[in-house]
Every structure is written in structure tokens, then in C-alpha cells.
Amino acid sequence: MTDIAAFDETQQRGLTKRKLWMSVLLHGLLIGGSFIMLYPLLWMLSASFRPEEEIFSSTSLIPSSISFDAYPRGWFGLQESFGTFFWNSFVISILCVIGNLMACSLAAYAFARLNFWGRNFWFAIMLGTLMLPYHVTLVPQYVLFLNLGWVGTFLPLVVPKYLAVDAFFIFLMVQFFRGIPRELTEAAMMDGCSAWRIYWKVMLPLSLPVLATAAIFTFIWTWDDFFGPLIYLTDMRDYTVQLGLRSFVDSTGLSDWSGLFAMSILSLVPVFFFFLFFQRLLIEGIATTGLKR
């Protein structure tokens, strides 16, 4: 009996020991992987504080001496300052957020809660537009905006959001609205509330999480958008941060890396801010609907 007990115990100890080793190995791998993933970003951050001549010689993350010169140099490196670009990006992104929240939630409410003829048909069509590559509408849209005199303004980047062209967010909101108990809206309907009042007074206040998720993703995607501004913005005074960075690459001929890195770091700050403070919303948004980023 004692033999068997002793055998059991050693086996048990062996098992936990193996488990411990496995866990150490796993954490080792994950920490190593995390480091490799973050290394380029950290290196860019440190390079922006580095004397220019050191950028191409050092792989270390800690600069030999810290200099902030690159920031003002990069900021005023083009004939328009990056202040202009940041302001433009900010204005465009905010306007797009407002547009998406209004237009997509209206459409989503109709699809999720209202009964009308052809609802399933239009819903299927809406889902179909999710698959449509934007290139197919690119040329006619450009011609349309050109004829409206909108090329060279923010309008082609902003107005479509007020017409709910981002089907993705409609889908996201429909999923959320469907989860709101029907009794709540039906009770309001019994009390004689109009569809509009139910949408405004019942649905939207109950949907803050999905509205926040949609707002943050709209902001980030608009902030990061390069293609739209590239074709629609012509004057440097209207450039977004992304276009500013691209002009910086072109104009300095890659001679001022630290200035370029400094501005690159600054351009990532707003996105990083959302990552830090709204990470849970972002991750839940992705997990529940399978967002693409």
C-alpha cells in the first residue's frame, strides 16, 4: 500500500513539475513573441529621439543621447505644418463618426425592429454590398464628385457616411439591436410611442456600447484612410496626416528619417489612445461580429 501511495505521489509530483515547465516554456515563447511583435514599434519610437547619424547603425532600443529636435523639424518639415494635417484628419474623422452613427443606426433600427414590405430583400442587398470591392464604384463616384465640384474638398470623404454606405456598421448595429428585449419596445409601442420616439428614447440609450464601438472604429479607419484622401484631396492645405506623411517621404527623399519617424509616431497617437482606453470595446466588437481589423 505504502509503495503504491509513494508511487502515486512521485508521479503526481512529476506531472506538476512537467506542467510547471510547460507553463514556463509557454510564457517564455509568448513573451519572446510579444517582444518581436513590438520591437519595430519601440525601435521607431526610440529612433525618433535619436541623433540622425545613429539611426542606421544601431539596433538597440535605447538611444545614446536623447534629442527632441526631430519633432519640431518634422512638424514644420513641409510648407504646411503637421498641425494643419492633424486638424484636417481630426475634422474629417469626427464628421465621419457623426455621419456613421446617425445613418447606420437609422437603417439598422429599420432592419432590426420595423416591419415593412421587402425588408428581408433589402437586408440581403445590404449584406451583399459588404462584399462589393469599392473599386467597382470608384470611377463613377469620382466623376460624380468631380461634376458636383467636390473634388479638392472634404465632402467626398464625409458625405457618403451620412448615407450609410458603411454596411458593415449597419450589420454590427442590427446584431446588437436584435439582442435588446422586444418587450421594451413593444411596451413603448402600446403606450402609443411613434417609431421615431422608440428609436430615439429607447433603442439608442440602450445601445451605447455598440454606438461607441462603431464610433471608435469609424474614427480609426477614417484616420488611417489613405486611398480616399489620396484621390480626393488636391491642395496641401487640405491634406490629412496620412497624406502629409506620404509627402514627407517624397519631399525629403528619405534624408530625414528621424523627422519622418517623429511624425509617424505622432500619427499613431490617436489610434493608440483608443487602444489603451477602449480596448475591451474593440476586442468585443471584433470577437462578436468578426470585424476585419
Binding site: P40, T137, L163, A195, R293
Partner: protein
């Protein structure tokens, strides 16, 4: 029908019908009004116009001139740049998407077992895919893989003299693939959510039957995860077909060296906004649409043979 029969004269009857139709459907259509304007004015309408333009020669300045199938014939037979961009794009899609999904699944599996510090790991692995779309990251990549960039400085520590990855047509596409795979965070999060849905007692039962972890992965985890794999594969493939910014920034808008990073979208952009061949660009867009549609249809058709739905 009976209500119509009893509802009196035609005009009142039709007004009654209209009024009823309005009360029943009006609100829905009012709420959808912005979407309808957007759908017809900015999506369906333009898509049809671009189909028409694809049969024309159009330079924005003069009216489109009907040339029949010429654009498509040129695409199919006489456009080496189209062929080059197809090769580059397909290579990119077929290499980067599977690699990205394998990384995403492997890391998700590692993080799934109630590991300590999960929120930290998840955040760190997710960060690149949140930042990756911006020009800043493409700029960074351009430096990392330059001849005197970080990767080569690193290799120099081991006495290896690396090539200029960006400007060598044999390697340039791989820098873009690495960039895409680096952003495996979002499919990883979807995998994590999928893994959490697999009932734990299945593993316990398998454990009792003496099935190894490896066998459990192939017999339980992967089959039950196939809907998520399917979803991720479709979404990531469509995204990969549409990739633009990194190739544009890293190659300086050319798709070079020697068209080695000429993504399809980049070629389309050059035709449309570089040469103002708007008709030809529209034809290219429709070819892209057909490719994506064929691919999606193919995935859905084959899905029934490998995607496991529990119903």
C-alpha cells in the same frame, strides 16, 4: 380581400389602401431613406455606370466612347502589366492569408488555456493589426527592410550581409507578406472567441479516453472551429485582394522594382488616376469583382465538405 370588397367607392378604397400601406411600411422606409439614397446614388448606380464605362474609352475630359469588348480583350491578351499584377496579387493572397491564419490560430490556442496575463498578451498581439493600416507603419517597414535598414543591421551582428529587401524584385513581395502576417491580431481574437465556445466537457471526455493533445486538436478543436476558420479565411482573403497602402508607400507608388509589388489595386489606381484611362480602370474593377465573387462562391460551395455546422 373581404375588406376591399366592403370598403366602398374606388377612390376611398385606394386611399384606404395607400394609408394602410403607409402606416404599415412608411416608418421602415423613412428610416431607411439615407441608406436608400446612398445605395442607389453611391453604390448600385455607380456600379452599373462603371459596368457601362468598362465598355468605353474614357479620359474624364471627353465623353465616353463605346469600344465594345476591347478593354476586356486587351486585359486578357495584350496587357503584361495586368498579368504581372495578377501574379503578384495571387501570390500575396495565397501566401499571406494561410500564414496569417496559422499564426492567429496557434497564438489563440496558446492563450486559450486560462493562461495568466491573457489580457496583456492579447493586447500586445492585437496592437499591430490596429496600427498596421496607417502610412506610418508602411514608412517604418520601408526603413526596416532597406539595404541599410534595421533588419540588415541586425543580420550584420551575425556576419550576414543582407540584400536590400525592398529594392530587390526577388524579395520585395516578402516584405509585404511579413507586414500582413505581422497583423494577425484580429483573426486571433475571433479564434479566441470561437475557442471559448467549444464545450469543455468534450476535452474531458477525450482525456478520459486517453486521446493525446495532438489528437484532441485534430478531432475536436479544429472541426468545431471550422466555421470560424471559414469566416476568417473569407474575410482575410477579400482584404488581401484589396490591399493598397503598404505597396503604394513601400514602392513609392510604382509597384516596383520591376512590378514585383504591383498589387492589383495599385495597378488599377495607376490606370485610373495616373493615366486617366477610366474606362480601362472600370474594366479592371469588374474583373476584380468577378474574381472576388468567384472566390467567395467557391468557398461557400466547398464549405459544405469541410465546415462543420452543428445542426
Amino acid at each position: 380581400m373581404t375588406t376591399i370588397a366592403t370598403s366602398g367607392p374606388i377612390s376611398a378604397q385606394s386611399r384606404g389602401w395607400l394609408a394602410r400601406a403607409w402606416t404599415r411600411n412608411g416608418a421602415g422606409y423613412m428610416f431607411l431613406l439615407p441608406w436608400f439614397i446612398g445605395f442607389f446614388g453611391l453604390t448600385a448606380g455607380p456600379a452599373l455606370v462603371s459596368l457601362y464605362l468598362s465598355f468605353t474609352s474614357f479620359d474624364l475630359l471627353t465623353a465616353p466612347r463605346w469600344i465594345g469588348l476591347d478593354n476586356y480583350i486587351r486585359i486578357a491578351t495584350a496587357d503584361p502589366k495586368f498579368m504581372a499584377s495578377m501574379r503578384v496579387t495571387f501570390f500575396f493572397v495565397l501566401v499571406s492569408v494561410p500564414l496569417k491564419l496559422i499564426f492567429a490560430l496557434a497564438v489563440a490556442m496558446a492563450l486559450n488555456r486560462g493562461i495568466r496575463g491573457l489580457p496583456w498578451y492579447r493586447a500586445i498581439f492585437y496592437l499591430p493589426s490596429l496600427l498596421g493600416a496607417s502610412v506610418a507603419i508602411s514608412v517604418l517597414w520601408r526603413q526596416l527592410f532597406a539595404g541599410d535598414g534595421l533588419v540588415n543591421s541586425f543580420l550584420a551582428n551575425f556576419g550576414i550581409e543582407g540584400p536590400s529587401w525592398i529594392s530587390n524584385p526577388n524579395y520585395s513581395i516578402y516584405t509585404l507578406i511579413v507586414l500582413a502576417v505581422w497583423q494577425f491580431g484580429s483573426p486571433m481574437i475571433i479564434f479566441l472567441a470561437g475557442l471559448r465556445q467549444i464545450p469543455q466537457d468534450m476535452y474531458e471526455a477525450a482525456e478520459l479516453d486517453g486521446a493525446s493533445k495532438w489528437r484532441q486538436f485534430w478531432k475536436i478543436t479544429l472541426p468545431l472551429l471550422t466555421p470560424v476558420v471559414f469566416f476568417n479565411a473569407v474575410v482575410q482573403t477579400i482584404e488581401a485582394f484589396k490591399a493598397f497602402t503598404p505597396a503604394f508607400i513601400i514602392s513609392g507608388g510604382t509597384g516596383g522594382p520591376i512590378n514585383s509589388t504591383l498589387f492589383y489595386t495599385l495597378y488599377l489606381y495607376q490606370e485610373a488616376f495616373g493615366f486617366f484611362r477610366m474606362g480601362y480602370a472600370s474594366a479592371l474593377a469588374w474583373v476584380l469583382l468577378v474574381i472576388i465573387a468567384l472566390f467567395t462562391a467557391f468557398s461557400f460551395l466547398t464549405a459544405r465538405y469541410w465546415v462543420h455546422y452543428d445542426d
